[in-house]
């Protein structure tokens, strides 16, 4: 089930509006202030202190990659594109820059609140998804270790199914993932053979 959105902690959040001085910035600032945020306009580039902001609104019409102190799509906070020209090239750039939501220009009396909520939700979802993918990828990479660990345990006179079960028991006892338990078993064996090897050489 989808979790409920967080609505009640926007107060005192900091928003940076990366846009040249313009009525759109005034109207957006009015909206953000009414919602309870502190809004600052900057142009033409975000300085490193922008890393501390909770939200960044950026101009999709005049924007380019060099304005941001992070790699495209790697912002540490939700980003909202301010789109005037709905041209495919500009939308494409805004997406590549890492827009989590958009607000059409000219910005008037509304739109900021839903953009904030949607951007934060997309940002959170993207971040959780990336962490999960990284974890799955790492576990996929450890398939070899699992196969080796099961083979090593089976070599001590157990069936493959028993070795598999033993590895699962170890993971539970150590409170680590199955893959991490396999890594430990393999490392322990490698240490053993490594020490034996040195011993043999000596």
């Amino acid at each position: 089930m989808r979790r409920p959105i967080r609505v009640s902690n926007l107060g005192q959040a900091r928003a940076i509006i990366l846009h040249r001085a313009h009525a759109t910035v005034q109207n957006l600032t009015r909206q953000l202030t009414a919602i309870g945020l502190e809004a600052v306009q900057v142009w033409p580039t975000l300085e490193p202190e922008a890393l501390g902001a909770d939200f960044v609104f950026f101009d999709a019409d005049m924007g380019h990659d060099e304005q941001f102190p992070w790699e495209p799509g790697q912002s540490p906070m939700p980003m909202i594109a301010l789109i005037g020209s709905e041209a495919p090239g500009r939308v494409e750039w805004a997406l590549r820059a890492g827009a989590h939501a958009q607000l059409l220009k000219p910005v008037g009396d509304n739109g900021a609140y839903s953009a904030l909520l949607i951007a934060r939700d997309s940002f959170d979802a993207q971040r959780a998804g990336a962490a999960e993918i990284a974890d799955l990828r790492r576990r996929l990479d450890e398939r070899r270790s699992v196969v080796r660990a099961v083979a090593l345990l089976a070599a001590q006179g157990r069936s493959e199914a028993e070795a598999y079960g033993q590895l699962r028991q170890m993971a539970m006892a150590w409170r680590v993932t199955f893959e991490d338990a396999a890594l430990r078993v393999v490392a322990r064996f490698d240490e053993g053979t490594g020490a034996d090897g040195r011993h043999n050489r000596g």
Partner: protein, 368 residues
């Protein structure tokens, strides 16, 4: 200028004089007309308000067109009106296009701060949040939620769910009726079966009247469902709907900035009001009068310009909400008796200060 040398200023009035929520419209309208009469008769005001009335007759599709008519065909820049949030949201784009201002004097669900609206009645940090903070420890935290099927009921119940579950409580049921529907049997049956600790009722108009009458009958058949044990809570019920409720109002608990006889708000020269709807509408027109008084030409200024020129009034320049007292009152013997109260607090439409409520003290004031 009229004969007395006062500036004549047209004031749009957009209330439905028939339809499902006309009792509330009439209460608001009385407040408007009382303030207009006060200002027009007051020698300290150099203005006379001339009401320009349009009646949407309870049809949500008429509001935007009639609002446009007022701004286009008359000199009025300010309109006081709308009861439902649905109608208010219909009117706002018209206000933006013509640079007009809507003065809205009814409790609403928050999450709005239009540059073209002034909100003179309570939003959730001034009604629902303190009401539930008080009620949960007193009655328990198993709630049943009702509402009319539009933004007021939806958002009130979403917020109630957040507060109740956050406090470790449970929502036993949540059900909506179309505006005007009297089909309350299913709600009542669900309440009978789930036996909650309290009911939060955000129904409006005839649905609410029918629901409260049916709930009173249920209480007669089953002692669990009495006001002492399982009360009905409301953030939109005021004295103006008593005529439609009769005995069914007895025991109802409501939150609002004013109940009949309360003192202190709005500061209106010892004027007493029939309900908070009337009081909030009066307060709106009174504040507009103050902003326009002795400022020739101000009647054509935008709301933003008016507030820039004078920030000393009751309207918050950022949110356009007002500071209001919070009263919690129960209907006892046909009148609201205040049981908890706190001094004026600022409206926080986006709950940006969180869900923490203000402490409410037992009401020590004499209530007539």
């Amino acid at each position: 200028m009229d004969q007395t040398g006062k500036r004549r200023i047209e004031l749009g009035v957009l209330y439905s004089r028939s339809g499902n929520y006309s009792l509330i419209s009439e209460a608001c309208r009385s407040g408007v007309l009382a303030a207009v009469a006060h200002i027009n008769a007051d020698p300290d005001h150099d203005i006379t308000f001339v009401p320009v009335e349009r009646d949407p007759a309870g049809n949500v599709d008429h509001y935007a067109a009639l609002g446009e008519q007022i701004l286009r065909d008359t000199s009025a820049r300010h309109i006081i009106g709308c009861v439902t949030s649905w109608s208010r949201k219909e009117v706002i784009p018209t206000m933006e296009r013509h640079g007009g201002t809507l003065w809205y004097s009814v409790p609403y669900e928050g999450f709005e701060a239009s540059d073209h609206v002034v909100y003179t009645h309570a939003c959730p940090n001034q009604h629902l949040v303190p009401l539930l903070d008080w009620a949960l420890p007193v009655y328990g935290s198993r709630a049943y939620l009702t509402g009319s099927n539009y933004i007021w009921g939806w958002e009130m119940n979403r917020l109630a769910r957040e507060i109740v579950t956050g406090a470790g409580g449970a929502i036993l049921g949540e059900r909506y009726l179309q505006i005007g529907s009297r089909d309350v049997a299913r709600m009542i049956e669900e309440i009978r079966v789930t036996r909650p600790d309290f009911i939060l009722n955000s129904l409006i108009g005839p649905s609410s009247y029918e629901f409260l009458a049916a709930y009173r009958s249920l209480g007669k058949a089953d002692a669990h469902f009495t006001p002492q044990n399982c009360p009905v809570l409301s953030c939109n019920m005021t004295e103006c709907e008593f005529p439609a409720l009769g005995d069914a109002a007895e025991g109802l608990i409501a939150a609002g900035p004013y109940f009949r006889g309360a003192m202190g708000w709005p500061d209106a020269r010892a004027t007493t009001f029939g309900s908070s709807h009337e009081a909030a509408a009066f307060a709106a027109v009174w504040e507009l009068g103050r902003l326009l008084n002795r400022r020739p030409g101000a009647e054509n200024a935008s709301l933003a310009e008016l507030l820039r020129a004078d920030a000393s009034g009751v309207i918050d320049a950022e949110t356009h909400h007002t500071r209001l007292p919070v009263l919690i009152a129960q209907v006892r013997g046909g009148a609201f008796q205040t049981i908890r109260a706190t001094g004026p607090i600022a409206g926080d439409p986006y709950l940006s200060r969180g869900l923490a409520s203000v402490p409410l003290s037992p009401n020590l004031r004499v209530v007539s």
